[in-house]
Symmetry: C2
Subunit: 263 residues, 2 copies
């Protein structure tokens, strides 16, 4: 069959086309590959394909969605660009996972000034139940007063304390989190979250400022009180842009810096 107008209407899904023109101010025309992408993201969110596992091959998906392989490919291209999937030539396409050593500290932008790689070690300090205040509720899109879990931890690079994190998590997902689950794990937090709670962190937003070290930060990071610290507030999102973590980190930047590339 040559490409013809018919091929469009023989699609199993008959995806919405902008034929009903000028619907609204924002008609939100969506090309086929983007609709396929949405279906696949939904499948990911629903857990149809587990983190680390291979998804079906491009040709299988093409059959399943009733489109050509090229269209599936474009959908996967975008998802790979967003770090939702990882392509491996000759092997297949895999669901990205924080269990993959290559992305253990994917969101950590702190780098030693001398560039030498160092072993990162997470030292959990405390884990308590609390209620969300106004600010937390707004960020996590829950109600003020809702139960949350507050986790404190220290991140060390080859022994030196460098990052003090306060991590706030909604209890409806992370309510059963305990210090013990983190104490003897040499994996990253997100790796544990993914395995134990089935929540995959997809993307994050960080807001940075400079602040003075308070008493607690000063003692834990082993710097004089008042030392300028980098305050990094992070909101982390899972599938469907749902915020599932609010993190406030204090970075000691005497021998480390926050690295960022601007494109």
């Amino acid at each position: 069959m040559k490409s013809s107008p018919m091929s469009r209407s023989t699609l199993k899904k008959t995806p919405l086309r902008p034929s009903s023109r000028q619907a609204l101010v924002a008609p939100a025309f969506s090309p086929l590959y983007r609709q396929i992408k949405e279906l696949m993201v939904r499948a990911l969110g629903a857990g149809e394909w587990a983190p680390g596992a291979a998804i079906p091959s491009e040709s299988e998906l093409a059959v399943r969605f009733g489109v050509s392989q090229g269209t599936v490919r474009k959908a996967i291209d975008e998802m790979a660009a967003e770090n939702l999937l990882v392509r491996r030539q000759g092997k297949g396409t895999f669901v990205a996972s924080h269990n993959d050593p290559r992305s253990f500290y994917r969101f950590l932008r702190l780098t030693p000034d001398d560039g030498k790689v160092r072993q990162a070690r997470s030292e959990p300090l405390g884990c308590r139940a609390d209620e969300a205040d106004e600010a937390v509720a707004r960020v996590l899109q829950i109600q003020a007063g809702d139960a949350v879990v507050v986790l404190e931890r220290l991140l060390r690079f080859s022994g030196d304390p460098v990052v003090l994190d306060e991590i706030i998590l909604p209890a409806d997902i992370f309510g059963t989190l305990t210090l013990d689950m983190l104490k003897h794990s040499d994996r990253s937090l997100y790796s544990v979250f993914e395995s134990q709670f089935g929540v995959r962190m997809i993307r994050a937003e960080e807001r940075l400022r400079a602040v003075a070290a308070d008493a607690r930060a000063s003692s834990l990071l082993e710097v004089p009180e008042g030392t300028p610290l980098l305050l990094v507030e992070r909101v982390t999102y899972t599938y469907g842009d749902r915020p599932v973590e609010w993190r406030r980190g204090r970075y000691a930047t005497a021998q480390y810096h926050y690295f960022n590339e601007l494109g």
Copy 2:
């Protein structure tokens, strides 16, 4: 002509294929579209297409390079993703430019806490000739002792001083820069650099730390001495990954923050 082995050898450029297999440890196989991209980047660097101007249409380029339109498209796709080009449906593909109001402060990540947009105004303070010390020379890939231009400027948001920048530029490009060229310009620095010196800033790397305000920063940013400030060191690159600017900015982050998205 159906796609056949012949179509490969009828290419005008007969681009290098990895047929001579296993050349070295890093054979650096380069697909056609990437070779096309390299040719186009070189054309951009050589000034064949000026910033803001339209490049030839995809089909013209396909003829010129002796490849299919789809291959040119893939090359342009990558360049658009790197902000080298801007596609505009129905109009053409254009060379990205800092003169475009949409990218006036493309590399400035500072955002007001309340989210309200503010008018940014650059106030040049000084401009002097100097010699590169060891550190500057290393970053700008020039020789220690080479001539540089040092520019100081204050960035205000609706009147409030927020960023104090010290900007170091190689004199072989920017030797003729004067305060007057900046004094009465309401455009961004990079916009001036592009128009006056023909240097387009492509990408940048930033390294952030927290430091205490020294006397000068304190007086210009109108904060007490010792106030924690965000120190942002930026190296900016033009075509061919050539570093052409080293900038050291001190950001007052009482009502503003540095925003970063992690993908």
